[in-house]
């Protein structure tokens, strides 16, 4: 049996951070046999590079951030996960938990090899409890399936990452996923009432429950939410549900300039007095790329920017009043046109503009940085200004679009197609450095919803104080003293 040759002490992981000397042991045939005993032989993938390859990366396109696991195990119960963690602890083998692999920060990439702990078989909805308005699910449940299961009770789960049809709820909790509806409904953490998890040492811990209020001890649930699989492996998640909205409408608003569009964002909430479900911004570059890609016939050429505003509510009349208030406000503030979509056909057409922006730019160049900046909502105009300056200074395209209503912009930095690759590789870090500085100065952060992973780790100290970083390290050391659970993510211990 061959395992990947073990690295020398002090070898460097793909992100350039040093693995602590001699920290991890090799995955021996004996350990593989024990893993097979825990989960069953057919649920351990080992020694077959082709089958292991899909677990070496997430949705981060740059191969620089990928790393092969030594094996993949697919447990189906909490007890099996506890046994795997206890085994990994005994032998000092790194373990990287993984959901659907749709992450955008490298969170599920095993950068020191070892074991990938795949949650795909933990895919049962354990309980739907309409009286308490909660659902209890295993981490491998596809997020959309929760909504399919609770719809008949007139309920829905309001956590809504954009990859809702593929991603697992365990991954959503681990990354504290946000997405398109966060303006009104907030992010995943708001809905997590209870967790069962396995610690790095293999102990099973239950936190919270079907409780709307709970201050019994430290709020460890919210510590676990967004911990990117570095503090525990979730095995059971209790989520709060909301009444299912009966009606919804999407508006597509065309503005002459980006300023008009972005300055209307806070006014929609303060002046019109409506908190939309989604409030998305798309600048001229993004809109033109997407509309050309889609052969869209709305008059996008004249538009300097567009907003999508969605509202939902208990009935059509409520929703109509809300969308009219938003639409009228936008027209008063100089919008060129307000389109209204209240059915599947038109709603799909509006959202496909937003959804196809990444595809449209992938055609321009496959080399691009996919950012996840978040700033206080009112600071977005200043961030846009800074990006425009950077774009001019360095000669790169920086389209800007994203969840304007919550201050989270998915800026991309796209390689000029005429540039040789080495010029791009030299320029990008300079652009990023300046962009992050501008973000920090505005009181922003490097990631709103994608997470840090190992991709954004080198920049963390630009945003967090020494003291804050040390608190985080202390927490990690206390819970995972051997540093075996998803090591090298968020920060180095």
């Amino acid at each position: 049996m061959s395992t990947t040759p073990r690295e020398q002490p002090g070898r460097r992981a793909k992100d350039g951070s040093a693995a602590p000397a001699g920290q991890y042991n090799a995955l021996t045939p004996d350990i593989v046999r024990q893993l097979q005993e825990i989960v069953g032989q057919r649920y351990v993938i080992h020694g077959d590079a082709e089958k292991l390859q899909p677990y070496s990366h997430d949705e981060v396109p740059d191969p620089e951030y990928a790393h092969m696991p030594d094996c993949v195990v697919r447990p189906e119960s909490t007890e099996q996960i506890a046994a795997i963690m206890a085994l990994a602890t005994r032998h000092r083998i790194p373990v990287t938990p993984r959901g659907a692999g749709s992450g955008l920060s490298g969170g599920a990439v095993p950068i020191y090899g070892g074991i990938v702990l795949l949650c795909d078989r933990m895919n049962r909805i354990i309980e739907v409890d309409p009286q308490n308005m909660v659902v209890v699910a295993q981490p491998g449940v596809v997020t959309n399936e929760i909504n399919d299961a609770v719809r008949e009770h007139g309920l829905f789960y309001a956590g809504y990452p954009m990859s809702v049809e593929t991603c697992y709820v365990g991954g959503n909790v681990a990354e504290n996923a946000g997405g398109g509806k966060a303006v009104k409904y907030g992010v995943t953490g708001r809905y997590v009432l209870g967790l069962e998890l396995v610690t790095p040492k293999g102990e099973i811990v239950r936190l919270g429950g079907k409780l709307v209020k709970n201050v019994t001890g430290y709020d460890l649930i919210q510590l676990m939410v967004g911990s990117e699989g570095t503090l525990g492996v979730f095995t059971e998640i209790t989520l709060k549900l909301m009444p299912l909205p009966k009606a919804s409408v999407d508006l597509l608003v065309l503005f002459g300039t980006a300023e008009e569009a972005i300055e209307s964002v806070p006014a929609i909430m303060t002046t019109a007095g409506v908190i939309p479900t989604s409030l998305e911004f798309m600048d001229r570059t993004s809109v033109q790329a997407a509309c050309e890609y889609l052969n869209e016939s709305i008059p996008y050429q004249q538009a300097g920017a567009m907003l999508i505003a969605s509202v939902d509510g208990p009935d059509e009349e409520h929703v109509r009043q809300d969308y009219e208030a938003i639409g009228e406000l936008c027209l008063q503030r100089g919008a060129m046109e307000v389109y209204v979509a209240d059915n599947f056909t038109t709603s799909e057409r509006i959202w496909s503009v937003r959804r196809n922006i990444p595809e449209a730019f992938a055609i321009v160049s496959p080399h691009q940085a996919n950012e996840d900046l978040v700033v206080p909502t009112a600071a977005i105009p200043k961030l846009l200004e800074a990006m425009l300056k950077l774009s001019e200074k360095y000669g790169v395209t920086i389209p800007s679009y994203g969840h304007a209503g919550d201050g989270n912009l998915h800026t991309r930095i796209i390689k000029n197609p005429d540039w040789p690759l080495d010029k791009w590789r030299k320029t990008l870090p300079l652009v990023l450095e300046e962009l992050y500085h501008a973000t920090a100065e505005l009181g922003g952060r490097i990631s709103g919803e994608h997470g840090v992973g190992h991709k954004r780790k080198p920049y963390l100290s630009m945003f967090l104080s020494k003291q804050a970083l040390e608190m985080m390290r202390a927490i990690k050391r206390a819970i995972d003293p051997q540093n075996i659970l998803n090591p090298g993510k968020i920060l180095d211990s």
Partner: protein, 265 residues
Amino acid sequence: MRFIVPIKQVPETNAVRMDEETGTMVREGVESIINPLDLYAIEIAIRLREQHGGEVISISMGPANAEKAIREAIAMGCDSGVLITDKAFAGSDTWATSYVLAAAIRRIGDPGLIICGERATDGDTGQVGPGIASFLDLPLATYVGKVEHVDNDVCRVRRLIESGYEVLETDMPAVLTVVKEVADPRLPTLRGKQKARKVEVPAWGADDLDTDPNRLGLKGSPTRVVKIFRPQVTRQCRKVTAVDEESIGPAVDELVEFLRQRELI
């Protein structure tokens, strides 16, 4: 000029499930939308009105909630609409539907162009447009991809045929059924929605139309659905594989021989 656009409300097909036992569509809980192919008819009618003046009237035969489809058409830019609804119309096939729509158009009066979508995405027959033309005894052009010219006397259109295009000129008034190429539909606007909400949409029943009661609804429909079944796929695939330079030659020979045997080359 008066442009009349008959439209149909259909279930949104992405959400449709089939009843495995009966082979019919499960319509409960499925959102209703304007037949997507009717949107092209609405769009070209609005554009022609913008060029030539006049009015666009959208009509729909269906249950009471088909009024929503008419209001959506008005929000896109139609001037008014009429809902044609009556229990007596229930169960109509394409023949009875065309008969009633023709009667409604006769009541509206003075049509210039009657513009229909190519077919509905649920029934998929494409018969109602031609049926209307037949009952009104008007000239018909189907599969219209471009309206080249319209005045009070003639209409010249380019219609899509299997081998390309065909340019037809007809007397006016006339009936057209249009395909996607004719015009990309616009989205409803806020102002359009506001207008559509206020407009009165009259509802006409059997008594409002000059029709023979024996020719309405299920009773007046000669079509009978005898059996619903899934068609068998009879196409057969033959794959010719070339993996490297050496295998390209033999693969090409094999393909040429295959086509020759069938006298295709």
